[in-house]
Symmetry: D3
Subunit: 198 residues, 6 copies
């Protein structure tokens, strides 16, 4: 499983969640995580979360992770959502290490920020999992700033004033998140090979 | 999925990891989590982790969770280990909320304790997953005290002096852990039913 | 698993067999059965049974059942057809209780009616199963009347003169069929949790 | 899939439910149904239904069906119980054709018999499904007579006075049940190959 | 599983790799192998091998095999590629019997031909496997002649001068390849039913 | 996936086919191939091929391969037998390269040897595949010499006078077979990640 870090400012428009995007765009013949910092503006025809139909899903500066797995055949959306949860919890662990305490509800992370009229729980992230018959995909994106996020949702960004990390921390976060996730999946494979079954 | 809390001081001897223990012992016809506080002393013929052959796996007062899933057929040890990881991370989240910062490596939790000769990383937990063709099982146990744990391993217990929680917190921890885990699995099922696939 | 009974006169045009129709139309985040009374006129682009290409599949007043399952991942068309058969047999049991003896061939029910020129076997129903990678779907529809059914097929309707039930029986039939089917799937899950495997 | 009819009076002691019994005993290298008339007396170490622990499961003259499937790998106890239900419903259809109206609850058939003190619902059958990692098995047995059935359970037999069939009907029932079941599974396979999926 | 041999000069344009082509075109309700001799010119919208995007995949006279399997549900592209490899190795065995020694790399066969400037390894075949949720498909095609193959690839054809077989051998090759492949899959099913599992 | 070559003269007694033998004996936490030269004498309680019950399965000097896969969960004996066939065909390819033309029937290789009374087809190999719920295993063994093979079976050995290879060729054969097989499985994984599905 490979980690590819993009340096450009790609906009996540929803097309990247399609199976085999990593092979078609970058020639990666393997399970992979592609990461980058960029805006998000999902086009309706690329919408995967039917609950979001008609909503604006957007942000001006987000940290994007696109995960694709080919190791389980046929692809299993149930397993894929389990892996998504594990990934989100790894991000939560890493944010905690950076001093950002978040709460989690399913695949969403929230940050309790102080505003002029008291504490507010700001949504920090968006995420979805999906699959084709041969590929399991996850998109997870973390707001770096609130700017450009939907106006009807209380959001937060990890680089905002009430946050306490810098852009260099973000680079480390990306590397750590990918490394920890890849190790987690790999450690599960190792655990299987030492376990008695009934 | 049901949570059954045992009030007696059952010793975890490894027999509880066997498939359908919950049905045979308590008549539960469903996926379940059975929890209790008690000692652990695994008998060699009940050993599921082949890496532990010849080792003493024990503790005098531990918090035990036995999870069994029948929702996926045939049972899948890969999915089962993913669920185990999610469960361990839920425990970690709850310990964090109680002020106990732990580190995690695979399915093990560690607590950095202060001893006379500096900081030490004490192992807080043991865990294993396994399955038969129809059942996925997880055992997770958290040391409440160091007493009775193997002498050749640096361990810690969440009730020890350097810890900072009480037995009433443990009761809440059990309830929260089971509730959060059951909700997590349930939320994944809901997410699947709103997701476009390719 | 939920049962939703529609009161309007929706035309079954084949679009309802598509995965996640129940979520997209009614917001149901669960396995479900949606039922209603209405006409059927399948549009060719919605055809799922390739054997029906070029045929008119229609009826003026039919009892429709749309079943969707998300409980097995990845979706399995083999299991789905087994469930379809079980559903058809439950309908057959209930019609028998109403005094309507039918014969069954695969997923089709037939009713032996008396006509001026002797006994004839009238086709009472149409059915298909299909799936996407995450969803298993069944459509089953029972003719209430012969009117509007294809002219080149001998058909029957359960409300016709030679039948012997009333519209109030139909309401009960719908409720019983859904209840019995949901219980059947649920009883299988319970049976699994009490069964020794090898 | 083959049907083998045994002519001897084999006692069903529970050993026949074990995977590959048909190959080991009769050399059948295929999915199969083995049928015979004989007593039943299940030995505790062969018990597969954990709910029956400590109970006497017996009868003096029963019609036994042992089904084994190798067509789905890995074996799936969920599918296996679906097939068991289909088999039981086929038996119910055939009994209905013989004039014996039964009711069904899960995998049990009941016959409403008249006794000196009113109507009683007599249990007509026992059944279980199980599997190993490569084989799916079903046992279904129908009481021909009440004699020898457990005393604490109200039972019935299809050859009893209040029944209305003869031993020659039983021979036909066996042939029809096996033929219909084999055709059912086969028709499902055919249906899959004509179905558009999403 | 059926073998259908086409006598016309059908052009393989990539549409034949689509699931259920055999049912939609020839009404085959079963797993099947359809074979014919004809040209190949893959249209870009029918491309299944994303590595071939932008390339010309063509030949003037090729021996085509289209395999479709419905026996495993849900379809599994991993198994499908294993079957493709088995099929290619069967072709290699048969070519060897005809005196044509080939080398194999994955799903490609190569023939070492003598040309004016020394030995060259000519690509003899193209192949791809794919699947939908219910169907597993393989296309394998062998160059009979070099004519019409892409100019930027060194190719060979089994009927070329440096080859040593005639068109009558090709007919036998087709029959043998299909028979051996069908027997292979069938022998695996038999082997399963005699094997003890753990 | 790892290849471990044993240098001692281990007797294959059937215990090596058991799941997790490689981990329990050599601590390998991965899919693996363990190879060695040694005798074979299968003990009846370790018999996996029920067709061999009561037969002597033995040889004095054989080349053994024990393959174990954990990459597919739950383990699938159907896939496992496909891999076994691929492995046997790789051995056949390599023997061909060494000038030993063999014929193959399922998982058996035969060598046509000249004896005083004409040509005879000698069985060169034995093989079996099996699995537990988490592990897929294959044993393949090639006779190096005829000595010690069952008297009631015509056998051959690749080192016998009518063969034409030396012990140094055998070392290469082992390395090539393992390398080619590991590459084959790996190339399938790569092919999946470039394939469009439907």
């Amino acid at each position: 499983m490979k980690h590819l870090e993009l340096k450009n400012n790609t906009c996540y428009d929803g097309s990247q969640i399609e199976p085999m995007w990593a092979f078609k765009t970058f020639g990666i013949k393997d399970s992979s995580i592609v990461t980058w910092i960029g805006p998000m503006k999902i086009e309706q025809n690329h919408l995967v979360d039917f609950e979001d139909v008609g909503l604006e899903i957007k942000g001006e500066k987000m940290l994007h992770f696109i995960i694709e797995h080919f190791d389980v055949q046929p692809a299993d959306i149930n397993l894929c959502y389990h892996r998504q949860r594990i990934f989100v919890m790894i991000i939560k662990e890493l944010l905690q290490n950076l001093g950002i305490a978040t709460s989690r509800k399913g695949d969403d992370l929230y940050y309790q920020k102080l505003s002029s009229n008291g504490k507010k729980n700001g949504k920090l992230s968006v995420s979805i999992a999906t699959c084709s018959v041969s590929s399991m995909k996850v998109h997870f994106a973390l707001n770096l700033v609130e700017k450009g996020t939907p106006e009807n949702v209380e959001t937060a960004g990890i680089l905002e004033p009430y946050g306490n990390i810098e852009i260099s921390d973000v680079k480390n976060l990306v590397d750590e998140a990918c490394k920890n996730y890849i190790n987690e999946i790999s450690s599960i494979k190792k655990d299987i090979s030492k376990t008695r079954v009934f």
